[in-house]
Amino acid sequence: MAFIDFWKKIEPKKENKFAHATYDALFTFFFKPNLTTSGKGVHIRDAMDLKRTMIMVVIAMQLCYVVGTINIGYQHFMALGVHSSFFEAFHLKLVFGLVQLLPIFVVSHLVGLGIEFYFAARRGHAVEEGFLVSAALIPLIMPPGIPLWMLALSIIFAVILGKEAFGGTGMNVVNIALLSRVFIFFAYPTYISGDTPWIAGLDLENKVADYNWGHLMFNPLFETIGWSTFQDGHPIIANFSGATPLALGYQSGWVVTDPATGEITGGILSQFSALQMWMGGIPGSIGETCKPAIILGGVILLATRVASWRIMLSFALGVAVMGLLFNAWQATPYMNVPWYQHFGMGGLLFALVFMATDPVTAAQTNTGKLWYGFLIGVFGMMIRVMNPAYAEGWMLAILIMNVFSPLVDHFVIEGNISKRMKRAKQYAKGS
C-alpha cells in the first residue's frame, strides 16, 4: 500500500481549507474512505454511493461526445462543400471537432469545479459530486462555436446563483446545465439561436472558412504524412443557410411539394432526410444530434436504474399527445410535421434522457414524476411549435417544470395525507 502511504503523507493541514478540500476530493477519488457505520442504525451499507451514480450518467453520455466531436467537423466541411463523404478526410473532421470541443469541456470543468471546491472549503464540507454531471452535460448542449468567456460567465452564473446560493448539490431548484444555457440564451441570444451558431469555423460575413492557430498547428503534421490540410479562407457553398431542421420546420413545415410536378420545393425534407436527422448529420448543439447515441445512453441509465423510467415514458407520451393534437389542428406549417418525426428533431431526446431525469430538480414522488414528465412533453411541444422567436422548447419547458415540480409533489403528498386523515376521522367516529 505504498500509494496510500504517499497520500497520507502529503495531507495538508486542516487550517488550509481550500487545499484540504481539494486534497480530500482527490483522495476520495482514488480511495473509497475507511468510514464505518455507527453502532446504532444499519451496520452494513449498500455499495452504491453518489460518486458512482454520477459517473454512470457521465459514462452514459460518452457516445454523444464521440459522435458530437465528429459531427462538428462533418458539418463544417459540409458547409464548405468539401470532403462531403463521411469518411473522407476523417482526420480533419476529428481534429476540427476536438479543437472546438476540448476547450469547451476544459473550461466547463475548470470553472464549475473551481467554484464548487471554493464553496466546499468555505462551508467546511466535502466536495460533492453533483457538478461532475453538470460539467459533462454543459458542453453537449452548447453550440460548437460558443466563445469560451461566454461559457465561463454562464457557468459562474448557474453554479453560484442556481446552486451554491441554495446550499449546494441536492438543494438546487433548477437544472444547472440548463440554467447556464438559458443564461446565454437571454444574455447573448445571437450566439445560441437563429441559423448562424450551429456550424463552427465559418466567417459568415466574407463567406469563407475561418480557422485559428488551434486548427492550423496541425497542418504541418498532416502535410508531412501527406494528408489533406485545413484551407484557411476556403469559400462556403453558394446556397448555404446553416438553418437547422427546426428553423426550416417553422418556416415551411415538414414538406412542401409542387402540386404540378410533385417536386419537393420546401420544408424540412428539402434539406434533410428523416434518417439523416436520426443519425445526427445535421447542425445543432454538440451532443443532441445523434439519436442512437442518446438512446444508448438512455438504455444505460434505465438498465442501471439511475434515471427514472417514469419521467422518460411520460415525457414521450406528452410529446406524442401534443404532436397528435397539432397534427389534427394544422393551423401553422409547423403543425404539419408528423408527430413521431418530432422525436428525431432538435434536442428532444437529449432533454428526455439527460435533462428531465435529473433527480434533484425533477418531481420526487412516483406519481409526481409521471405528471412532471408529461407536462414537460406538453409545454415543450407548445414552445417548439407555437413560439415564433425560437423553434425549440425543451430547455424552457424543463426549467418551467423544475420550478413547478415541488407543486406537483405537493398535490401527491397532500393526497396521501388527506387519505390518512380521512381514515383517522372514520376510526375516531367508529370507536
Binding site: 500500500m1 500509494f3 496510500i4 502511504d5 497520507k8 476520495t28 482514488f30 480511495f31 473509497k32 474512505p33 475507511n34 468510514l35 464505518t36 457505520t37 455507527s38 453502532g39 446504532k40 442504525g41 444499519v42 451496520h43 452494513i44 451499507r45 449498500d46 455499495a47 452504491m48 454511493d49 453518489l50 460518486k51 458512482r52 451514480t53 459517473i55 466535502a126 460533492e128 453533483g130 446550499g167 449546494g168 448539490t169 441536492g170 442501471t304 436504474r305 439511475v306 427514472s308 433527480p359 434533484v360 425533477a362 418531481a363 420526487q364 414522488t365 412516483n366 414524476k369 403528498i413 396521501n416 395525507i417 387519505k419 390518512r420 386523515m421 381514515r423 383517522a424 376510526y427 375516531a428
Partner: protein, 543 residues
Amino acid sequence: MTWGLIIVLILLLLFVFALLTLGEGLLKVAASQSGVDGSDYSVIPNRLGNLFSGEKSKPAYIPAPAKVRHLKRGFNINLAGVADKKLYIASHRASSYSVKPSDFIGMSPMPKLLVETGTQVKAGQPLFFDKKRPEVIYAAPISGELIEVTRGDKRRITAVTILADQGEIQYHSYDQIPSLDASSREELVKFLLGSGAWPFIRQRPFDTVASENDTPKAIFVSTFDTAPLAPDLNLAVAGKEEAWYKGLELLAKLSGSKVHVGLNGGSDQAPAAAFINSNKINGVETHWFDGPHPAGNVGIQIHHTDPVLPGSTVWYTDVHGVILLGTLLLKGIFDTERVIALTGTELKGKYVSVHQGANVETILSDMTPEFSDEEIWAKDENGKKVKKTVQVRKTRVISGDVLSGTQIDKKGFLGFYDDQITAVKEGNYYEMFGWLIPATGHPTLSATFPAALFSDISYVADTNTNGEKRAFVMSGEYESVLPMDIYPQHVFRAIMCNDIEKMEGLGILELGEEDVALCEFVCTSKQPLQKMLREGLETLRNS
C-alpha cells in the same frame, strides 16, 4: 456477403451456447465432487432466467381459502453466515445476565432499583421500574446475585447485572396466577404489569412498552423474520406450542378486538403447525404474507392489516413474548429462555437456547478476534508524521440483525428484544477506486454492479459505509424497498423541518426503525435514517 455474415453469426451464437453449456456441466461436476447439491447451479444469470419462468404458484402448506398478500417492494440482502439448523445447543448458561434500561424506548435514564447490589434475586423478581411509569415492573431474567449496577454518563444506569446461578433456576413465586376465564381484563393487566412480563408487549406508534391505560385497536404478532440472517422462528416455538396457544389466548383477552398473526407464505419451508393453527383460538386471525424483507416486520404487517392512525394505538409482541406470557400463565414461572441464532461470517452459525440478556462472551467462543494490531500514520510530539502501532477493531458484534441491531462488545449482553447475534467484519479499510470498479463483493440493490444480475450470490458483509454522507439527491430509492403507502423521503424532509403536522399526516406513526432500516441501507446519500426517524418520533411523543 450478407448470407455469409448471417451464417457466421449463427455459428458464433452456437459456439457461445456450447461454451455456456459446457461451463454449466463442469460446474455441476465440480459441485458433485465436493459433495454439494448443484442441481440449481447455472451459469446463466438467474434474473434473466426468472424472466422466462412462469408465475410462482401458491405453496402447498397454505390452506386453500386463505389469501396471500404479495408484497413486491423490498429487498433480501443475501449474506453469508447463516445459522446452521443442525448445530443447536439445547441450553447454554452464561456467567452473567443483565437488563439494560437503554433497550426500552423512552425510559428515564435512572430507573428506580428495587433490590440492592449483593442480594440474591429469583427469575421474575422485580428489579427496577421507570419513575415515569411506576406500574410497569422490569424483572430479573434469571436467578442469581445482583452484582453490579453499571453507570454511564451523568450517572445514567446502563446495565443491571446478575451473576447467574449455575444449577437449577430459582423462580419467583406469584401470589396468584389468574385464570383466563375467571379474571377480567383489568386483573390480567394488573398481574402482567407486576410480573415483569408487561415490557414484552410494545405499542406502535413509538415502539415504547405498551401503555397500560390504552385499549389497542388490535394486537399483532409476526411469526417470521425476513431480516438478513434472521433466525428461523419455527425453532422458537418447537416444544412450546402449548405456551404459544395460551399466550395468544391471553393477548386475545387483552386486545380490544383482534389478535393478528402474520405468517410467512413466501418460503419453501412451511411455518410451524402451531403458527398456522393460531386462528383456531377465539379472537385470533392469521394473515399470509409473501415478499422480500421487510415483509416479516410487524410494522409492515400492521400497515396492511389494520394500520395505525393518528389517535389510535396498536400493540405488538414477538413469538418469544407470546411464549413467555403463555408459560407464565401455564406454569406460573417467568421463563425468559429463548432460541437465538448466532450468525455472520466471523463465527460458526448456529442456534443456541439462552435466557434473555445473557452475556455473549462464552457463546461467541469461536468468533474471530475482535481486534488486531495495525500500523498507521500519526503525528508525534514534534508534529512529524510517523508510523505507530494501534489496536484496530476487526470484528463487530451486533445484538440483533445487521440492519437495525445494536453494536455490543464481545463482553456485552444480548438485548432485551433480540433473538440474534451477528458478527461481521469491520469495514475500516481503504479500497482503491472502490466507487468506480464494476465488480465488488459488497451487497447492493443497485444495477450498476454486474452482480445485480445474480440474485443468489451470498455476500461477506462488512461495515464500511461505501461512500461519504451527502445531501439527498436520488429519489424513489426508499419507496422501492418500503412496501407501505407512505412517502418515506417526504417523511424525512418533514422530520428535518420539524413539521409535526406533516410528519403525522405522512404516516410517521406507522413507522418503526426496523421498517426504514432497508431504506437506510440503500440510501445513496448515506443518511442516518433510523436515527432521524427516532428523533422525529421523539418530537411527536413529547409534543
